[in-house]
Symmetry: C2
Subunit: 489 residues, 2 copies
Amino acid sequence: VPPDSRPCPGLPRRMFVPGLLAAALALAPATPIRAATANPAPAVPADVAVPPADAARIAGAALASDRAWRRLSELCDGIGHRLSGSAALDRAVAWARAAMVEDGLDSVWLQPVKVPRWVRGQESATLVEPMPLELPMLGLGRSVGTPKGGITAPVVAVSSFDEMAALPPERVRGRIVLWNVPFTTYGQTVRYRSRGANEASRRGAVASLVRAIGPTGLRTPHTGNMAAYNDSFPRIPGAALSAEDTDMIQRLLDRGTGVKVRLSMQADTLPDGVSHNVIGELRGRERPDEIVVVGGHLDSWDVGQGAHDDGGGCVIAMESLRLLKELGLRPRRTLRVVLWTNEENGARGAKAYADSIGTRQRHVAAIESDGGVERVVGFGFRLLKAGTDSTDAGATARLVERARPLSRLLAGIDAAAIDGDGGGTDIEPLMKLGVPGIAHQTTMERYFQRHHTAADVMSHVDPLELRRNVAAFAIMSWALAEMPGTLVP
Amino acid sequence: VPPDSRPCPGLPRRMFVPGLLAAALALAPATPIRAATANPAPAVPADVAVPPADAARIAGAALASDRAWRRLSELCDGIGHRLSGSAALDRAVAWARAAMVEDGLDSVWLQPVKVPRWVRGQESATLVEPMPLELPMLGLGRSVGTPKGGITAPVVAVSSFDEMAALPPERVRGRIVLWNVPFTTYGQTVRYRSRGANEASRRGAVASLVRAIGPTGLRTPHTGNMAAYNDSFPRIPGAALSAEDTDMIQRLLDRGTGVKVRLSMQADTLPDGVSHNVIGELRGRERPDEIVVVGGHLDSWDVGQGAHDDGGGCVIAMESLRLLKELGLRPRRTLRVVLWTNEENGARGAKAYADSIGTRQRHVAAIESDGGVERVVGFGFRLLKAGTDSTDAGATARLVERARPLSRLLAGIDAAAIDGDGGGTDIEPLMKLGVPGIAHQTTMERYFQRHHTAADVMSHVDPLELRRNVAAFAIMSWALAEMPGTLVP
């Protein structure tokens, strides 16, 4: 897919077309016809075949149920946002555990994880010159606070690390750097959120502000994590402004008006706390020691409700197991749901889980849902080179081909796209161990406008898209746990 | 135009088609051809005719200039929002006056106007039960404040005045009423912002919250004015919540969860202050005592920058006169720009202007631009029944037909729609005196999402649409001041 065919510039690479093969499969009747035809659908290898009628039952049950929506409302409206170390995340852990027990899973347990505890506190950014104005802002995770009374300094705006490097020292020293990098893709721009404070401090700046990492919203700042401080330079605070206020400051500077800002933040990092991965499973009927892991992350940023990021993913994964239980579809392998903790600012839950799996059980696949509850399009499959975070292109291509017949099961709900763009923060440690990593893919058309903002709330989740997401995720989870062979034979 | 053909439900009635007549005129060559054709364009009556070549010059100059954008940036970025009674509005008055002088208008003056001074102060709305959560909110203009420490009470949600009337008294008394009225059109929903506090107080409520009067944004509350307090009931505070938080509270209430909110507002009304209408004119070359008034309102709400509402309208009107001056097009009549003060919470500037016009000069037309700087589509023309605010349908129909040939001048910039939907808050007092009221019409597709919010800022104004708006407004202003006859012969 050429870049300009992407639905919006902020999207990761996605193949929206299932391809001729998948299209042909989608049109093929559920019971393969053996008679010769002009373009016969390739036969599904026996060790990847699962009963299509069961997939249809799963879809029917998912599309007719509002349970996922009610669950998401319990989490978002009843508990709210839940940053690592917060009492709300503890409540969410207890809630998720109770929900899995209520669903009748075979085992439900908590895995303790030490997590960082960053706290925001009171914070503000105020335009001081050329006129007083409160600027909507959000401090960035891991940032230090400011001295009481804040930091007041002139602002210098730059649009790239290179532009910063080219500035004479006196243009940066003692100033607040504003990284005015227009949003293109998340990957291209998030590095200014990550590294901006370190790079600004390296040049003697006293604070770092970053243009919101997301498309222009409604004067909406986006939070998110910063990289660890580089101990060669002073630790300076980092925060995000809205795209609009960044534009305004740039316009003022462009016409020679001096701009001064006061940044005030009580942000602090407390000693680590204890949180938990919440884990539950349906034990496999034939090969209980082969595990298919499915999940999302239970923690969220401390704004909004963490509805798209990633309450939705958690509910989708939990509901997938509940549906199978309700339908009496106990799969061949063990299907395990893991709601990871601390994805947003440490990924400690992901690491703890991967560190714990041992060798008695074999993880044959891992699916993460962390792309928001938008229109589901399909799944990405990927394998890493052993022990690295680099894609193994050849193995991934074979994996995608092997997974392709599964898309037939998803054609009926228009989620049959299959590509090699698999992965997810929480399953990456498993992928480094050789486990195929699978991403639950959505259009993400509006995701990055709400991501890490106060607007990541229930009202922006479409209840019917949530049902379709559950249907797709449940079918794929079941298929991987049910098919006679494994993805990597 | 049937309602369902409107581009979005929030739009006022607009005719987007110029009609066959206007289309024919648009296609007609500038110099009428006298030879018989199958469908000859109707001849333009001589007393409505103006030189099309001059309209083309105006369009060319407007479309090639970034001056309006720079002016809007001076106002929005350099001065910011400007509620009646604020120092910022005083600065805006001085700025506008200086700009008109710089533009070389023949006369520039200020008209003093006593204006209300409502001040917002610190304010917050906090969900107290079932969990603590700060709710983005904006107090409503004219609202009283709360006692220190705020008002904490259970919330009752209603979706209409009728639903409120049907509730038993104990369901309302001592509670905070939340008017959860989904946005359809501004006219349908704004009455809950206006009358909500009075209607809630009538039933014994202690505060009134209203769902944002606008489409769902990004958890964006909308401010705006309340009606005068009804002195038969206690004065209770009024504020707006976002659509999303209103939805959340409704979901909680619907599943039986008690919701308690603490509302804290320092809002206060100070003694009236003095503000000014800013007025400038190009004196007519033949009939200086016939006045065409054009303008917008200089005040704004005390959030955002008042870019669409109505800095853009002010700049469009000012720039129209400047362009004519620059092009040496002194019109037959006097063209007067009025930047009214206090449109948002009192309309005192509009009243003061209409009260001052006397009988020596005759106002022949008034145009207001207050629909945001979006894609311009044309102009609405309307006459009221003498001394009332009711439309005179017959006179309006004749007015629209008389104005229709002017649309030919706007066809080249695709702004040729003409209809009977004229008017504007600031020109209504003139219309009551018999002056034809003309609205500068835009698509308003995104207007009500930004209107009265912190997101009504420069970054949401498209610089090229601003130029097209100036072109259309300048041409219409010039045509009305230049044409040999008047709109009402």
